[in-house]
C-alpha cells in the first residue's frame, strides 16, 4: 500500500460517490411523480438493444488484431457462444462452455 489508510478510504469514498452519481442522475432528472417526456421513454425502449451491443464490444476492447494471436481466441469463443446458444438456449451450457473453451484457448492453445 503506497497510500495511507485515510487516503485510501477517501479515494474509495470519492469513487463510490461518483458511481452513485452516475446511477442516480437519470432518476433525479426524471422523477417518478412527473410525466417522463415521450422522447426519453422512446430512448428507454431502444437503448437496451444498443447498450448490450456496446457492452460486447467493450468486453473485447483490449483485444489486439494486429499482434499475435490476432483476437482469434476471442472470435472462436464468441462464435461458439452464439452458435451453442442459438442451438440449445441453455444458459449454463452457453456461458460455462464458452468460458471453458476460452480458458483452454488462451492457456493451452495460443
Amino acid at each position: 500500500m503506497i497510500l495511507t489508510t485515510s487516503q485510501a478510504l477517501l479515494s474509495i469514498a470519492v469513487i463510490a460517490a461518483a458511481t452513485i452519481l452516475t446511477r442516480t442522475l437519470p432518476f433525479v432528472i426524471f422523477p417518478a411523480g412527473k410525466k417522463t417526456p415521450k422522447f426519453v421513454t422512446y430512448l428507454g425502449s431502444v437503448l437496451p438493444f444498443a447498450i448490450i451491443s456496446m457492452l460486447i464490444i467493450y468486453c473485447f476492447k483490449s483485444v489486439s488484431i494486429t499482434t499475435w494471436p490476432y483476437g482469434i481466441p476471442e472470435l472462436i469463443a464468441g462464435v461458439f457462444v452464439v452458435v451453442i446458444h442459438k442451438w440449445r438456449h441453455n444458459l449454463l451450457l452457453s456461458i460455462g462452455g464458452g468460458t471453458l473453451l476460452y480458458m483452454i484457448l488462451v492457456q493451452a492453445v495460443f
Binding site: 432518476f27 448490450i52 473485447f60 481466441p73 488462451v106
Partner: protein
C-alpha cells in the same frame, strides 16, 4: 410473497453468479496482491459495487494520492450508467421503498438481467427485481472475499475466466435479437461502438460511443417508433 419472489429470481441470476464469482475472485486476488486485505475488498464491493470500476480503483489505490483524478476517472468509466437509468425509469418507479437500492445496484450485469427478465405469473415484480439485484451483489461480494482470502493459495490458473461476462452479454444479445424483428438499435450499438473503438482507442471510446448511439437513435426515432420493439416475455 417475498419468499416466492426470491425463489423465482434465483435461477435468473445463475449466469451472473458464475460471472461475478469468477470476476470477484479475480478482483480479490489482485487487490490482496497490492497489500489490501479482506476488509478493503468487503468495503469496496459493498460501497462502490461496479465491476470494471473496481479494477480501475485498484490502480487508483496503488498510484499517488489524487482525489480529482479518482473523480474524473470514475465519472468517465461509469458514464454508461446514465443510459441504464434512462431505460429503467418506468420499471423502477413501481419499486417504492426498494427504489434507492435498485438505483444504487444497477451494474452492467443486473441491468442486462432486468432488461429481459420478467417475473412469472403471480410473482410481485418489485420484489422479483429487488432479489435479482441483491443476489447479484451478494455474489460479487462473496467472490471478492474468496479471491482476497484464498488468492495466494489458488492452485489453478484463472486466466481467461473473465470471459464469463462476455459470454453473458453475448447470450443476452442473442435473446434480444430473437425477441424482435427490429434489429436497427442493436446494429447501431455494434457499429457505432466498433467505429469509436477504432477511431478513439480503448481508453476513451465509450463516451464517444454513447454520444454516437444517442445521435443515431435520435435521428432514426420516427422510423424506429413505428415498429414494435417490445421484447417477448421469455426468460433469458
Amino acid at each position: 410473497m417475498r419468499r416466492k419472489a426470491f425463489k423465482a429470481a434465483l435461477p435468473y441470476t445463475l449466469p451472473v453468479f458464475m460471472g461475478y464469482l469468477f470476476l470477484g475472485i479475480a478482483f480479490g486476488v489482485l487487490l490482496s496482491s497490492k497489500g489490501y486485505h479482506a476488509g478493503w475488498a468487503l468495503l469496496m464491493s459493498t460501497t462502490i459495487y461496479a465491476g470494471s470500476m473496481q479494477f480501475v480503483a485498484i490502480e487508483i489505490l496503488t498510484s499517488p494520492f489524487n482525489l480529482i483524478n479518482a473523480l474524473i476517472v470514475t465519472l468517465t468509466v461509469n458514464a454508461r450508467h446514465l443510459f441504464y437509468g434512462l431505460s429503467m425509469l418506468d420499471k423502477f418507479n413501481i419499486s417504492g421503498k426498494l427504489k434507492p437500492y435498485m438505483v444504487f445496484s444497477l451494474t452492467d450485469e443486473t441491468y442486462s438481467l432486468l432488461c429481459s427478465a420478467e417475473p412469472p405469473e403471480g410473482i410481485d415484480q418489485k420484489w422479483f427485481m429487488f432479489f435479482i439485484a441483491v443476489l447479484d451483489q451478494s455474489y460479487w461480494i462473496l467472490g471478492g472475499l474468496i479471491g482476497n482470502v484464498a488468492g495466494t493459495v489458488l492452485t489453478f490458473d484463472p486466466t481467461g475466466i473473465d470471459f464469463a461476462m462476455t459470454a453473458l452479454f453475448i447470450v443476452i444479445f442473442v435473446n434480444q435479437w430473437e425477441s424482435t424483428k427490429q434489429h436497427t438499435p442493436a446494429l447501431i450499438g455494434l457499429g457505432v461502438t466498433l467505429i469509436c473503438l477504432v477511431v478513439f482507442g480503448a481508453e476513451y471510446f465509450i463516451i464517444f460511443s454513447m454520444i454516437g448511439i444517442f445521435l443515431c437513435l435520435t435521428l432514426l426515432r420516427s422510423r424506429l417508433e413505428m415498429n414494435d420493439l417490445k421484447a417477448k416475455e421469455e426468460p433469458i
